[in-house]
Structure formats: C-alpha cells, structure tokens
C-alpha cells in the first residue's frame, strides 16, 4: 500500500516536472537519465534476468537508430512507425545471433565477446556501405515542429515520450518477472544445468530473452536518432555505446525491476555533480566519476538495489 502510494507520488512528480522546471538543462538531464534507464532496461532482460552478459547491445541500438532513420530518409516513413520496423529488424538479427551463440553453448565471457564481435561487424559494414551513409552516418532531415514525424520544437515533448517509453518497459519487465517465462529466465541464470534437468528448454528461454531485449534496445535507438537527429557507425554500433548501455543496470542492480532506473539516476546525478564541482581542471570530474564507479562495483556487487535488500 505504502509502496503503491510512493510509486504514484514519484510518477506524479515525473509527469509534473516539465511544468515546474524552467531549466532546459535539468529537463535535458532528465531526458538522458530516462533514456539510459530505458535502453538499460532492454539490456536487463537478457543480461539481468536471463544472466547472459552482452557486451554488444549497441548492435540492436544501432539497428533501431539506422532502420527508422533510413525508412524516414529513403521512403518518408514516419519514425513512429519506423521504430517498430527497427525493433522487428533487431529481433530478427537477435534471433540469428542468439541461435549462433546459444546453439553452440557460448556462455559467460565467450558470449559477451561474440556479441561484441557482432556489433563490430555491423559497425564496419555500416562504415563502408554507401546506402546507409557509410562513415558519415545519417542526418535525420529536420522538419521543424512535426509531432507526426517524431520531431518536436520543444524539449518537453521528448521528455514525455521517453518517460512513457520507460514506464511501459518497466511495467513490462515487472510483469515478466512474475511470469512463468521470467522464472524460467532466472532459473537458467542461476543454474542452467539444473534448469534443464527440471525440463526448462534453456535454449528457447535465452532466445526469447534475447529477442525481447533486442526489441526494447532498438526502440531506444530510434529515440536517440530523433532526439539527436544524427547517428554514425560509431555512435550507433561502437563498443563505447555497448558499455554505456550495460553500465546503468549493473550499477543499479542487474535482474531487478528498478535497477536500470536507479543506476541511471545515480550515474546521471553523479556525473552532473562531479562536472559541476570540479570545473577548474578539465577531466578531473571524469577521474572522480571513475573512482566512484570502481568503488561501487567493488563494494556493491549487486548494485544499489543490493544495498536496499540487505536491510
């Protein structure tokens, strides 16, 4: 009861925020926090619940960003539609990469590396393929304030879009956690052999987790492309992006509903505070940020959510 009231209050605050906050910078910071929480939630399904650590989720992110942008640039398809197209392509690709990885029993570090390799393949391909803009990438043509084309002159609307996306993803994961599939994923994560002995088709469970995860991450890719209106092979498929995606859920608590959002809030606030405080020396804030990150990983192996649960 108290929990529900708390959540409702938080949600109310989030919805009302743009009306109260006059600072573009704060709104922009919140947009990025929600955005990273959203793609982090995508990663969380596979990496957190099913326990398959992917180091190449930029693969799906890039596919989402590229597909919707290309559909818009080449055929005039609204990115609202394009984002689902991107998710569909990402799901298809994830099933292929997932099949190749899981069919041959790749686990742990090997799975992480093979995903990294897949993302790199797409990065190199995108760099050399003229039709998708090659190394230049894609500039989404700007149409001013065009809500039907996922373009807004005012930041507030991007805020509501990403807030809605985050709510849906979080609600979806909450349902997943209580579903049969969710329990099967956790079983596979904790002990794959034992899960198989109980009659769980680990291959199937992992593949479904991969597809769900890819689809969500790809939707985030479209949001990025529309918000920044520019994507290139490194932004889309680069390994730095893969790491950005998995950082939040791991810091917040992988395999928990609120982990990605919590991690994103912590990192977002931390990043802005260190940035604001140590202005005198360029780069010092990144050092500080890195140190805090290391401390968090060493002392909070289950993320910030783990801290919560211990009490």
């Amino acid at each position: 009861m108290l929990r529900k009231a708390g959540l409702a209050a938080l949600l109310g605050a989030a919805v009302a925020a743009p009306a109260v906050i006059r600072s573009e910078y704060l709104i922009g910071t919140l947009i990025l926090i929600y955005f990273f929480a959203f793609v982090g939630q995508g990663w969380n399904v596979l990496g957190g619940y099913a326990g398959q650590f992917s180091f190449g989720h930029a693969l799906f992110f890039g596919i989402g960003a590229y597909t919707s942008s290309l559909a818009f640039i080449k055929w005039g398809v609204s990115p609202w539609l394009g984002m689902w197209l991107g998710a569909a392509v990402a799901v298809a690709v994830s099933v292929v990469t997932g099949h190749l990885s899981f069919r041959y029993g790749l686990r742990g570090a090997y799975f992480a590396l093979v995903m990294l390799a897949f993302a790199e393949i797409f990065r190199v391909a995108a760099t050399n393929w003229e039709w998708v803009g090659a190394s230049f990438g894609l500039l989404v043509p700007l149409r001013g304030n065009a809500p039907m084309l996922f373009q807004f002159a005012v930041k507030r609307w991007f805020y509501y879009v990403i807030l809605a996306m985050l709510l849906m993803a979080t609600a979806g994961v909450a349902r997943l956690q209580r579903s049969r599939l969710g329990y099967e994923m956790v079983a596979v994560r904790e002990n794959e052999a034992a899960a198989a002995a109980l009659g769980i088709d680990a291959y199937r469970v992992k593949l479904i987790a991969m597809a769900l995860s890819a689809g969500i991450t790809a939707l985030g890719g479209t949001f990025y492309a529309q918000y920044f209106s520019y994507v290139d092979p490194t932004i889309g498929f680069g390994s730095a992006n893969s790491i950005e995606i998995l950082l939040r859920p791991i810091i917040g608590g992988a395999g928990t509903i609120w982990g990605p959002l919590l991690g994103s809030v912590v990192l977002g606030v931390l990043g802005e505070i260190t940035r604001g405080f140590v202005k005198a020396y360029a780069g010092l804030h990144l050092v500080l940020y890195g140190v805090i990150l290391m401390v968090a990983v060493v002392f909070l192996p289950h993320g910030v959510m783990g801290l919560w649960r211990r009490h």
């Binding site: 600072s23 573009e24 922009g28 910071t29 760099t127 190394s135 230049f136 520019y230 360029a282 780069g283």
Partner: protein, 419 residues
C-alpha cells in the same frame, strides 16, 4: 582631538571625494559569451587549443576597451567541456541557454557541431563555429549557425585546383596518383572527393589503399605505393597513421614526385615536424592557415606562444578569429540581444583579418569566400606556397629522393644522431 561628530563629517567627505566618483561612474557591463569545446576525450588536444585561442582573443578585446558601442562592456566567457560526446554537447548547450549567453562559440569537431547547431537553432542562440568542416553543417537550413572557415568540400576543391596550378606553372608531368586513406568518415570522404576532382587537372587515381586508423604497421600499404609507381601520394588520414606513412616511406625509400594531403592529420602541424624532424620536409598540405602577409599575424602568434608555450596551430587560430568575428557583430548590434546579434552576424563584412579571406556569410551562414591554402614544409617551417597572392615561398618539387635527403642531412649536421 577630533570629536566623534567631526570624525564622521571628515569620513563622509573623504568617502564622497574618493569613493564617490567610482560609484557614480557607470560600471562596465559584462556580456556573457558561451563556449562549448571538447576539453577531454578524443578531441581534447584540439578542443583545448580552441579554448586558448578564444581566451587570448577575449583578453585582447577586453584590454582594448571591450565593446565600445555598449559603453565598453567586457566579454565574459562561460566555457563548458563537452567531453567529445554528442550527449554531453547537448547538455552544454542547455546550460549555456539557461545561463543566458548571447552567443556560443566552438565546438571544433563536426560530429559535435551537428548537435550543437541544432540546439542553437532550437533556442535561437547565434552559434559561431571555429573549425567543424563537414559541408552538411551549413546545409540544414539553420539561421543561427555561422561558419567563416572553409568546408571539407571547399578545401578539397581548392587544394586540387592549387595542385593543378602548381604542376602547370612548374611544368611537372604528374599523372599517377595513389590515395592512402583511413577507412572512417574523414579519410574516406576526402578520398572520394579527390578521386572525382583529380581528373579535372589531368591526374588519375591509379590506386586507393584503405587502412585502419589504428594499424600498428603500414609496411604493406607503403609497398603498394611503390608498386603503383605513383607520381603523387595523397595520405588522407589522422595524425598517427599519417606520421607512420611518411616514416615508412622514408625507411623503404619510396620516392614520389609529391606527397600532398587535404586537411591532413599530420599536414601543417608543427608537432609533426617536432616528432619526425627532417622527414617532414617537402610535404604539401591544403589546410586552414593564416595570411602570412597580414601585418598583425606575427604578434598574434608570439602572444599565443608567450601565453601558452605552444607553436602555431590552425585550431587555435580559427577559434581566436571566431571571437573577433563575434566582437565585430556585437559592436554593430549595439546590445547584447540574441536576435540583434544574429542579424548583425548575417551582415558581417570583414576584410582585413588574419585569415586569408574576407568574411561574409551567405543565407546558410557559410562564408563562401573562405579558402584553404597550400603549404609545404621547408627546412622545418611551414610555408605557404600557393596561391601566389599569399605565397611566401616557392614550392620545392619534385621532392628530392630519400637517399639524397638522408645523405644531405647526415653530412650537413654531423653532430645530430639519426638513430
């Protein structure tokens, strides 16, 4: 002995006499100017150059009495680090907007400029670019973006034109060109443009050799240059690979008529000369540069060297120039108002600047009169060799053979260790 009352009277009089005039005189106003540069991350070196260039210009402007049309208002910089990352670049623009800056300078790299120009348009803040060469930046229909420097396309066209002029004037029979380029955006797009343009000056690209920017060795690539019997070699890549190509060519004694680059990673860079010494000699590069005949340029370079102990680099020069373009527009705007400043910028018409071209903006905010120049490294200095109206030295072509150069350098400086 003075009474308390007397003391008060004297004190009041003294305050009025000494402090009064200071209070009455109008305080010089401050104009807040925003700046977003990559001070950390992949572009940190260039971003810090940009920051220093703007700092130098703003100090000069303030020392000379600020903006006269606004009662000597001083420029006050708000410098933010965008960490070479587009998402951070967006948030720097938001913070500058919140702070109420009148204009934004920066952001050096094209990938960052795509984001910052778009934000500037959204918030209607005049945005004056320093380097960011991608043509597309001023092709998106923005009205608050201004770029006085040449684009990637302009630089490539002009360099090819200069090369054509040079070989014609010197009657050099250069025909066969090999382009060795990194496979990312910069190297590949430059290579594409050159391949299209070179036939217009009677040259033909006989081979394109792509390489990875992070390749530890380029021996095989350089062997291919040798096999192609190139008259002209064009490296189109970043600093480490560019430097490696030159060193490997020297090692393998691969002789060509000319080595030319367009916005080359190691072209027109004093740090390259510092790193490789005489090997840098004779390299040609079409790039941003200053007008060597401008009366003020020597003192500007000396002032920068004094302040930051750094040699000349076009990155800081363009940032320095951008602050002066802003100063001129602020004078004409007569008020720290974004709309008036935008209109004033659009009507910019500057002639006598340290850059070798007039500054006038077209409807897209691009200075179509901007130009790159062709420089050659000659005995450790970078000299403008083309076009002739600004040339300070004659080009040395064809490049002497490595064998001869090595021998010369050994005999001329017996004390130096050649490693």
């Amino acid at each position: 002995m003075t009474t308390r009352r007397q003391f008060l009277t004297i004190a009041t009089m003294a305050t009025t006499a000494l402090g009064g005039p200071r209070l009455l005189r109008a305080q010089p106003k401050e104009i807040l100017v925003g700046e977003t540069h990559p001070l950390t991350g992949g572009f940190a070196r260039e971003g810090n150059f940009g920051k220093q260039g703007i700092e130098l210009a703003v100090n000069e402007i303030n020392a000379a009495g600020g903006i006269k049309s606004m009662g000597g208002a001083r420029l006050k910089l708000m410098v933010l680090d965008n960490e070479s990352k587009p998402p951070v670049a967006i948030s720097t623009m938001e913070r500058l907007k919140d702070a109420g800056v009148v204009a934004v300078l920066g952001p050096y790299a094209s990938g960052l400029a795509f984001v910052t120009t778009q934000e500037a348009e959204k918030y209607r803040i005049p945005h004056l670019l320093d380097v960011a060469i991608a043509d597309q930046i001023t092709e998106r229909g923005f009205t608050y973006t201004f770029r006085f420097s040449p684009t990637a396309g302009m630089g490539a066209r002009q360099t090819v034109e200069y090369l054509g002029g040079l070989t014609r004037d010197m009657k050099l029979p250069f025909k066969r060109v090999v382009i060795i380029h990194e496979d990312g955006l910069f190297g590949k797009s430059t290579a594409d443009t050159l391949q299209r343009l070179l036939p217009t000056i009677g040259m033909e690209v006989v081979e394109r050799i792509p390489h990875n920017a992070g390749a530890p060795s380029l021996s095989n690539e350089v062997l291919k240059i040798k096999a192609a019997k190139a008259d002209v070699v064009i490296p189109s890549t970043y600093y480490p690979a560019h430097s490696l190509i030159i060193r490997t060519m020297a090692e393998q004694r691969v002789d060509t008529g000319a080595i030319v680059s367009v916005y080359g990673g190691a072209g027109s860079q004093y740090r390259f000369i510092k790193d490789v010494g005489k090997l840098a000699d004779h390299m040609l590069d079409g790039n941003h540069w200053y007008n060597p005949k401008h009366p003020r340029i020597k003192s500007v370079i000396a002032a920068f060297d004094k302040a930051y102990q750094q040699p000349f680099a076009y990155e800081w020069m363009l940032a320095y120039q951008s602050a002066w373009v802003l100063k001129d527009a602020l004078e004409r705007a007569g008020g720290a108002d974004r709309e008036r400043l935008r209109d004033a910028l659009a009507r910019t018409n500057l002639k006598d600047q340290i850059v070798p071209y007039p500054i006038v903006f077209d409807d897209h905010g691009q200075n179509t009169q901007a130009r790159a120049l062709l420089m050659q490294v000659q005995s450790g200095t970078i000299a403008v060799v083309y076009p002739s109206d600004v040339a300070e030295a004659k080009a040395i072509l064809p490049v002497p053979a490595w064998e001869k150069r090595m021998r010369l350098s050994r005999s001329s400086s017996p004390a130096s260790s050649t490693g």
